[in-house]
Amino acid sequence: MAFPQDIDALTKAFSGFGVDENAIIWILGKWYPEQRRSFRKGCSQFFWEDERLFERWDDNHIAFLEREFLRFKNAMVLWILHPWERDARMAKEALKNREYDILIEIACTRSSEELLGTRRAYHSLFDHSIEEDVAYSVHDNNRNLLVALVSSYRYEGPKVNEEIAKKEAKTLWEAFKNVNKNPIEDGEVVRIITTRSKLHLKSVFNHYKVVSGKNIEEDLEEDSSLKDAIQCLSSPKAYFSRILDIAMMGGADEKHKEALTRIIVTQADAYMKEIAEEYLQQYGVSLSQKIEETTKGNYKDFLLTLVSRGV
């Protein structure tokens, strides 16, 4: 008979984010056939009684376990890749899965030269330009925004024209107020968001608050590409911190969970410190502690190592 606490521990070991390799080795490795059998019989969330009289493992859970075991490997591979190749591969995958928020994240949070590097790597890897693939695969009204974002090569210097920023803030405000037209289809909105420098846009967003009384994000529809783009452009650390929190929430689906690896790995050498500070401020718990609570095993240790590099 297996001890109830061992059964409990083992169940926990592969029920979350990553797997607790140690628990698996030290508990499971010692079990004899009767112990393993009583585990299978007692664990109805993973096993069920097949009509031909054996305890059968639920297919979904096997798939789930596979993903959780792979999390550490995926994080490691992503970490080793050249940043350009990393972003190019992620972009290709995101395009395939219609995960436009990831494309927007890459296009808006990388520097002009980093995005350029990504576009170069994309040429090498896929024999196409990223813009031609995005333009060809996206058929809904997100297309113009997405193509323009991945093609952007923004000025990165300090010069900002306040008069123009003020004017453009007003243009945006009027576009968002217009109930007859989706702002993402407004040429002026797309022009401003996709061609202006990030510093200029910060000024535009500040003026927007004066003109509208609210933060620009509050005037935008939830779950829209435009909102994601504006968030990434106006405050990447708030954006990253929010996505991390969603990833670590109980019941998060795979798409959201993947973001944990993606963000920690891509930001470890960039904004990590700022993201951790923002996270603490927003959610009242340190990022490291949250990762400690939600993840397991080698995956957890790897993430924590990356996070602590920057802070």
Binding site: L116, R119, R120, H123, D127, H128, S129, E131, E132, A135, Y136, R143, N144, V147, A148, S151, S152, Y153, R154, Y155, E156, G157, K159, G187, R191, T194, T195, R196, S197
Partner: protein
């Protein structure tokens, strides 16, 4: 092929000193300026500027700007710049001016290689503290804007891989638009501004095979609006830049009151690239050499400079005399 004639060995220091002498004292010795700069390639010109700066603590370009005037000055100024800087300046002037100058922007976007376009955009950031995209976008509207901004923003795949069946389907989309069967500008803009040049040329070839006439022929005739005109120019630039430039030169020369701006732009930007091919096309088309036409239509130092860049052999004797 290039047309400029460049000696085997040059000394940037000697050149800088001779240019200095040409600018000193009363008046300027334009012949010296032409005979030196007109026979130096981009690398050599850059070395001369550096040498001049080191020796005289002065920017050669600024010096020449103050010494020279008129069309000659404009031509020398554009010639002596780094190609990327030159493109940035040409684009900036065009982005600010009248509609007809959008040709220049389309030329730069479509004829330069992806890396050259990138270098131009970087130079533009540096010079103007804006991106070329934002300046073009803020001064244009509608489909015309979409096309222009897209053409300028692109970083095309520069390999030879071509998808033949895609070429077929995209040729069809272009055909439908040209025949007026569809007004879907989005698709045309997508194809022209994102596909690689190899892919586009394959598409244009399929177009010709399927419909008998080349796409540029099908587009000829007066364009209905600035969008159609831009489309036409873009396609010509991608399909056959030399033919396009021959036409620009022909129109500039034949125009009442010659278009010196266009002549300067073509000769200065192509002298180190394919001006020879453009010359040959011009000769074939107009039964007169380009040198002859330029000789008749321009004058003074400006003319001599252009002819030098054209590699006019008769000028070598001119210098020796």
């Amino acid at each position: 092929m290039a047309t400029i004639i460049v000696p085997d060995h040059t000394s940037p220091v000697e050149d800088a000193e001779n240019l200095r002498k040409a600018c000193e004292g009363w008046g300027t010795n334009e012949n010296t300026i032409v005979s030196i700069l007109g026979h130096r390639n981009a690398v050599q010109r850059k070395q001369i500027r550096q040498a001049y700066e080191e020796i005289y603590q002065e920017d050669l370009i600024k010096r020449l700007e103050s010494e020279l005037k008129g069309e000659f000055e404009k031509a020398v100024y554009r010639w002596i710049l780094d190609p990327a800087d030159r493109d940035a300046i040409l684009a900036h002037v065009a982005a600010r001016n009248a509609k007809s100058d959008n040709r220049t922007i389309i030329e730069i976007a479509c004829i330069r290689s992806p890396e050259e376009l990138l270098a131009a955009k970087r130079a533009y950031h540096f010079r103007y503290k804006h991106s070329l995209e934002e300046d073009v976008a803020s001064r244009t509207t509608g489909d015309f804007r979409k096309l222009l901004v897209a053409l300028v923003s692109t970083y095309r795949y520069d390999g030879d891989e071509v998808d033949v069946s895609l070429a077929g389907s995209e040729a069809k989309i272009l055909h439908n638009m040209i025949e007026g069967k569809s007004f879907n500008h989005e698709e045309v803009i997508r194809i022209l501004s994102t596909r690689s040049k190899a892919q586009l040329n394959a598409t244009f070839n399929r177009y010709k095979d399927t419909h008998g006439a080349s796409i540029t022929k099908s587009l000829s005739g007066n364009p209905a609006d600035e969008f159609s005109e831009a489309l036409c120019i873009a396609i010509q630039c991608i399909r056959s830049p030399q033919k396009y430039f021959e036409k620009v030169l022909r129109n500039a020369i034949n125009k009442v009151g010659t278009d010196e701006d266009a002549i300067t732009r073509v000769i200065v930007t192509r002298a180190e690239k394919d001006l020879k091919d453009i010359k040959d096309l011009y000769h074939k088309r107009n039964n007169a050499s380009l040198e002859h036409a330029i000789s008749k239509d321009t004058s003074g130092d400006y003319k001599i400079f252009l002819l030098t860049l054209l590699g006019d052999p008769s000028l070598i004797l001119y210098y020796l005399s």
